[in-house]
Homo-oligomer: 129 residues x 2
DNA sequence: AATTTATTGCAACTTTGTCGCATTAACAAA
DNA sequence: TTTGTTAATGCGACAAAGTTGCAATAAATT
C-alpha cells in the first residue's frame, strides 16, 4: 500500500461519504464534483480509497459502480462485513449496505471466493407514500 | 407481449443457448455473430427473448450482461428458479445458473422485489489444474 | 401473390470508464 | 521556510458497452 496524500479532492470525497451513510455511485459523484475536480480524478481517488480499505464497492442494479465507507472505518467490529448484502430502492435510488452476513449456498463443486448479493425493492420512505 | 417473429437471427441465437447449458455474455454473442448479424440486432433479440421469458439475464462480475435460458423452458418444474444464484469462474470465465433457491436476508424495513446473488470463484475444471 | 408490420442494418450517438503525459501540489527533509 | 521528490491532477484522446432513429427488408397472414 503506497503513500496516500490527503488532497483537497480526497477530503471532498471523503466528506461526501461522511455526511450520509448511504452508498454513492460513481456517476453521482462525478456529477456532484464536476466543477471542482476532473472526472478521472474522481475515479482514481475512489479506486485508491478502496485499495486502502476505506471504501468498498459493488455493482448496482443499474450496472453502475457504487461506493460506501468500508471495513476499516464505519463497520469495524461487526461480524464478517467483508461480504454483506446491499439494498437498492428502485423508486428513489437510495442504496445502502445491509449490516448482516450472507449465507452462501452450498456449491461443493466450486470454490467460492467472493459473493455479491443485491436486494432491489422499495425502501421504507418510498413504501409509505 | 407482442408477436415474436422467428427470424434467422433469432434461431441462430437460440441455437447458441441450446448447445451449451451455460450463460453467455452479450459481448461474447456479439462477437460470435458479428459476421451474421448486426450488434444492435443481438441486443434487441436478447431483450425480446427475455421479455418473453425464454431467456433471463444477470450482471456478471465483469459488469457485463449475461443471458441464459430461462424459466419457461429449461428450468421449468424446479422450485422457485425465478431467483436463483449464478456462479462465475474467475479463471475461465465460465458462468452458469445454480439450480437452487436463494435465502433472502430479513430486511423488515424494506420491501424486497428481486434478489441477485453472484458467486465468483474457481470452477471444478480450473481447480483441478 | 399481395399486404402488413415486426425486424434488421446502418450510422450516429451516449455513457461509463481508462490512459498517457505534462503540470501541480502534498509532504518530508533540510 | 525553502527546497526536493513524486504522488496526484487536469486534460484530451480513446475504448467498450449499449442505445436510437430511420429507411430497407423479410416474416407472417390473408
Ligand atoms: Mn457495502
Ligand atoms: Mn440464471
Ligand atoms: Zn426509496
Ligand atoms: Zn473455470
Amino acid at each position: 500500500m503506497g503513500v496516500i496524500r490527503i488532497t483537497k479532492s480526497v477530503k471532498a470525497l471523503l466528506n461526501a461519504f461522511a455526511e450520509q451513510e448511504v452508498a454513492l455511485s460513481t456517476v453521482a459523484l462525478v456529477e456532484q464534483f464536476q466543477d471542482h475536480m476532473n472526472r478521472s480524478t474522481v475515479y482514481r481517488i475512489l479506486e485508491r480509497l478502496e485499495d486502502e480499505g476505506i471504501l468498498h464497492s459493488f455493482t448496482g442494479s443499474d450496472g453502475l459502480t457504487w461506493y460506501a465507507l468500508g471495513n476499516k472505518n464505519l463497520l469495524s467490529g461487526k461480524a464478517n462485513l467483508d461480504t454483506h448484502p446491499h439494498f437498492q430502492c428502485k423508486d428513489c435510488g437510495k442504496t445502502e449496505c445491509l449490516p448482516m452476513s450472507v449465507s452462501i449456498p452450498d456449491v461443493s463443486k466450486h470454490t467460492v471466493e467472493s459473493v455479491s448479493l443485491l436486494l432491489v425493492g422499495q425502501c421504507s420512505d418510498c413504501a409509505s407514500v
